[in-house]
Structure formats: structure tokens, C-alpha cells
């Protein structure tokens, strides 16, 4: 347990080290999730257009 505390403490630099790593996780996650959501929206939008086009013809 003490070694885990020591690890989290980072020799007194805990705030700086873990903020950096946390930020990296957030930035990389957001950057990867954006295209996933965009793709869903795009496909749904195009499908809607196709259906609408069919109805009018």
C-alpha cells in the first residue's frame, strides 16, 4: 500500500505528472470519439435524404 502511495505521490510532483497524463487521455479520447459520432450522424443524414428522395418520386 505504501508503495502505491509513493507511486501516486510521484516524489512530490503528483499534480504536474498526473495532470499531464490525464490531459493526454482526455485529448486522445475526444479526438478519437469525434469521428465515430460524426460517422453515425453522416450515415443517418444520407439515409434520410435517400428516403426523402424516394417519397417525392
Amino acid at each position: 500500500m505504501s508503495s502505491l502511495n509513493e507511486f501516486l505521490h510521484m516524489g512530490g510532483y503528483a499534480f504536474y505528472v498526473w495532470t499531464s497524463y490525464g490531459l493526454a487521455v482526455v485529448v486522445l479520447l475526444v479526438t478519437a470519439i469525434t469521428p465515430l459520432r460524426q460517422r453515425k450522424k453522416l450515415l443517418a443524414g444520407i439515409a434520410r435524404n435517400i428516403r426523402r428522395a424516394r417519397r417525392t418520386t
Partner: protein, 244 residues
């Protein structure tokens, strides 16, 4: 071989191949990240000058490398799009911009967080930091310019020119620590004779660098797939894809 590249350049084939590649890239990225974090946070010893704080390096340095690498890819793809009118090159160029901006942002902010305990300040207007900040603005400029032009192909030509002009900033960033006096430390890995970094720290650094490259490949393909569908939305193959 030539036929393979020719097919790859066709948006439809690209969409399929990219879709199959993405999960593999994700797995490889995960493996390299776990290994990099293990060697970087647990195995590597504390630095004799900076203590534990230097561990920020395993994020900061690969992110900074990627900020330059992605820019060069973006400008090269932009040039290929200008010269050969390759649709896929245009797609790669614009899809790279937000990823490069993310890496640049990460390099700047982690650098700032590292600078506070080591230099005693979050920010100084020195050559390395300022030129890296300009790189971020170049990325943001590329994204804004692309969104400002209605026609995709015209927009692609515009951002290609901006990206190519901005390449002048890349060697400035790289050599800034040698050309000017700066707080930022000099290169320790790319020195030609012998890297002045210990193996126990070099290994996690390289592992994280590979992990970030794989991540870039993965997100680039994901973004490119979206861009391809958007551009080809009125074609037969996209319609078939959706109705499947």
C-alpha cells in the same frame, strides 16, 4: 502493385480497406501504450536532476514529435492533391489537421505543466515555445479555411497552399533550440553521434512514440472514411453501403 495503389486511390476501395485496418491499429496502439506506460511510469528510475517530474516527457516529447510529423504528412498530401488532383490525398490532408492540432495542443500544455516546477514559469516567449504555438495556429488556420470555402475541392487547394507555405515553420521549430538561446533543453535523442538519454528512459519514450504514430494512423483512417462518405454521398456505392 501499381494496380493495388490505383485501387487504393479509389474512394470506395479505400473506405473498405481502411475499415478493416482500424481495429488492428487500435489493438496495436493499446499494446504499445500499455508497454510504454509500464516502462515509463514503473520501470524507469527517477531522473537525477528532475526527480519524478521528468515522466511528463513520455507524453510531451512524442506529442511534440507528432505535431511536426503530422504537419509534414498534411503538407505532403496537400501537395499531391494540388499536383495530381488526387481526391484521396485531399482527404488525407484535411483529415490530418485536427489530429495534428490535438498533438500540438498536448505538447504545448504538457510542456507548460512541466515548465512550472522545472523552470518556475508556465510560459516564456522563447523561440521553441513561440514557434510551436505558431504551429498550432497554422493547424487551426487550415481547419478554419477549409470550413470557410463551400466547395470541397477548392477548399482543399486553398489549405494545401497554406500548409505548404507553413512548412517553413517546421525546421524553425526543430532547430530553434540550437539557433537561439532558450530555456528549452536541446535534443537528446536525435543527436547523430550518441543519444544522451539512458536506455531505461529511451525505451518507454520510443514505445510511446510508436503508440502515438499508431493512434494517428487509426484516427486518420477514421476521419478519412467520414470525409470520403461526405464527398461521395451522391454516388451509387455510398447508397448501397447505407441500404445494406
Amino acid at each position: 502493385m501499381f494496380q493495388f495503389f490505383h485501387q487504393l486511390a479509389s474512394p470506395r476501395y479505400f473506405y473498405g480497406i481502411a475499415g478493416r485496418l482500424i481495429p488492428w491499429l487500435a489493438v496495436a496502439f493499446g499494446l504499445f501504450t500499455v508497454a510504454g506506460l509500464y516502462y515509463g511510469l514503473i520501470v524507469a528510475p527517477p531522473d537525477y536532476q528532475q526527480g519524478e517530474s521528468y515522466r511528463i516527457m513520455f507524453i510531451h516529447v512524442p506529442a511534440a514529435w507528432m505535431s511536426l510529423f503530422v504537419y509534414v504528412v498534411m503538407a505532403t498530401a496537400g501537395a499531391m492533391g494540388l499536383i495530381w488532383r488526387m481526391k484521396l490525398a485531399e482527404v488525407v490532408a484535411i483529415s490530418s489537421a485536427p489530429i495534428g492540432a490535438a498533438f500540438t495542443f498536448l505538447a504545448l500544455v504538457t510542456g507548460s505543466i512541466w515548465g512550472k516546477p522545472m523552470w518556475g514559469t508556465w510560459w516564456v516567449w522563447d523561440a521553441r515555445l513561440t514557434s510551436e504555438l505558431i504551429l498550432l495556429f497554422l493547424y487551426l488556420g487550415v481547419i478554419a479555411l477549409y470550413n470557410a470555402v463551400e466547395d470541397r475541392r477548392t477548399a482543399s487547394r486553398a489549405i494545401a497552399i497554406l500548409a505548404i507555405v507553413g512548412v517553413v515553420n517546421i525546421p524553425i521549430i526543430h532547430y530553434s533550440v540550437e539557433w537561439w538561446n532558450t530555456l528549452h533543453q536541446g535534443p537528446t535523442v536525435t543527436k547523430l553521434d550518441k543519444p544522451s538519454i539512458h536506455m531505461s528512459m529511451l525505451i518507454p519514450l520510443l514505445l510511446m512514440a510508436v503508440a502515438f504514430k499508431l493512434y494517428y494512423g487509426m484516427v486518420l483512417l477514421m476521419r478519412s472514411r467520414c470525409e470520403v462518405i461526405d464527398r461521395e454521398r451522391n454516388t451509387q456505392w455510398v447508397r448501397e453501403l447505407i441500404e445494406k
